[in-house]
Amino acid sequence: MDFLVSHFAEILFYILAALAVLGSIGVITLKNPVHAALSLLGTFFIVAVLFVLQHAEFLAAVQVMVYAGGIMVLFLFVIMLVSVKGLKTQAAFLSPLIPVAVIGAILVGALIASAVLLGVFATGNAGPEALQMVDGEILGNTEAVGMVLYTKYLVPFEVVSVVLLVAMIGAIVFGRKDRFIGEHEGEVGS
């Protein structure tokens, strides 16, 4: 009982981490795309809870808000493009991906190894308030993220927003096939 109480956060972390891993395995192995998307939603939700465990409440809320909207669009694509009846007979698309998975595992392993060697994880013992500090004062995660984002990382932040804007305009341009493709290929049936 004492062990449970004193290590509650750690135990919770490992349970949630295991669930998150299970959820992400579900995303790539479930045959029904809607189930896979639901699994993805669950995984993101658990990651948000992991953020809360690290006292990063703002990140947790933003995680849920941003990804909930993102997966919503994914759902719409699935519903628009896949019919329910065709799902049952669809073969698992996992086997051709095994070489890709091996390469991916090697790359992720190399990434983790280099992170460990460079000491990225060495600051892990900074205490529960590390993500809530503004100028050495505990104000809260929202303030801390805002302060860092709009002072220290202002230029990368603005650059990223321009990149996102470009991607958005690009999507709209590609979506308007009547003006840009239609000129060369005539009417595109829809």
Binding site: V34, H35, E57, F58, A60, V64, G69, M72, I79, T142
Partner: protein, 349 residues
């Protein structure tokens, strides 16, 4: 029982039970109020058979829905069909955890807070959790294997995703004025400013309320369940208790939107007219009225507005709905945030 366990587990558990019971009771009688008020607006009597003046009608409805046969359509995606009502209902109830119904008070030497949690991201929590509810609606519509359900679900998704954006900006204008994301902090900021935020933020308040009505799929924005076109929309194939969950979640969401309007723009649990009647509120008789009374009174007003709208406005067409959302509310809310930010900057330095 040792003290910390009492503090950590027992008191929150009691609060959760009380909160759930009260919320579900209000939800049940909100359906009764809606039928009664609509009836009077249409010069009818409304439910008047079960109990005196129909007071027991919600109980009878609940019993009926419990014992009804629970149908699952043949071609339905069973698992998703089963969990969709839960995905709608759970977020609707979870959001009540951060709604402050009143100010902390003393009882038997203990300080009791009439809310479950005062977290510093309460508003983001509500916005995030509320965005999960739409999944239940679209999944319910999709898994029913019914054209009308699917259309209703898709409409609902488009509508809720569109109106979430101006709503977020309207909420942001109140946050700018308060300088905090905590619900309790926002009410305290209105007490300190001696003014409710709907006066300086009248535009934001209006946008918030329109978007709030649209987010809950209520008249005049109830296209996802437009009965003339879609039978009953996303819950066409649902029956019994699963249908009841969709139905209750809609009313719980109405309560959340009303409670948010009260907290963000109408001073939460503070008594009305803080400036004009400051001397009056100092009177011991009136000061004795608990804050929760004012909170519930204001919330009831907004809930009445919901029903009033339903009795008054015709339904939008879908293209009109999208035009209002994207061409009017979105630019207006963006301009409003900039105006409020400028005002806050000039006034507070």
């Amino acid at each position: 029982m040792p003290e910390p366990i009492l503090q950590l587990l027992l008191i929150p558990l009691i609060k959760i039970v009380v909160l759930l019971v009260v919320v579900l009771l209000i939800v049940a009688y909100l359906t009764y109020a809606e039928r009664k008020i609509l009836a009077y607006m249409q010069v009818r009597l409304g439910p008047n058979r079960v109990g005196p003046k129909g007071w027991l009608q919600p109980v009878a409805d609940g019993l009926k829905l419990f014992v009804k046969e629970d149908l699952v359509p043949g071609g339905a995606e069973k698992l998703v069909f089963m969990i969709a009502p839960a995905i709608v209902m759970v977020p609707a109830l979870v959001m009540f955890a951060v709604i402050p119904f009143g100010e902390p008070f003393q009882i038997a030497g203990m300080t009791v807070t009439p809310y479950l949690a005062d977290i510093n991201i309460a508003l983001l929590f509500i916005l995030g959790v509320s965005s999960l509810g739409v999944f239940g609606i679209i999944l319910g519509g999709w898994s029913s294997n019914n054209k009308f359900s699917l259309m209703g679900g898709l409409r609902s998704a488009a509508q809720m995703v569109s109106y979430e954006i101006p709503m977020g900006f309207a909420v942001a204008s109140a946050v700018l004025m308060a300088g905090t994301l905590s619900m309790v902090g926002i009410v305290e900021a209105q007490r300190a400013a001696h003014i409710w935020f709907f006066l300086p933020g009248i535009l934001g308040f209006g946008i918030y309320w329109v978007c709030g009505v649209a987010e809950t799929n209520r008249n005049p924005f109830d296209l996802p369940e437009a009965e003339a076109e879609l039978v009953a929309g996303f819950h066409t194939e649902y029956s019994g208790m699963k249908f009841a969950l969709f139905y209750l979640a809609e009313y719980a969401n109405m309560m959340i939107v009303s409670a948010m309007a009260v907290v963000l723009f109408c001073g939460g649990w503070l008594p009305p007219f803080p400036n004009l009647l400051a001397g009056l509120w100092a009177l011991p008789v009136l000061a004795w009225i608990p804050g929760a009374f004012w909170f519930l009174a204001k919330m009831s007003f907004f809930l009445f507005c919901y029903i009033w709208f339903r009795g008054t406005f015709p339904r939008y067409r879908f293209d009109q709905l999208m035009n209002v959302g994207w061409k009017w509310l979105f630019p207006l809310s963006l301009a409003n945030v900039m105006l409020v930010a400028l005002g806050v900057l000039l006034l507070k330095g």
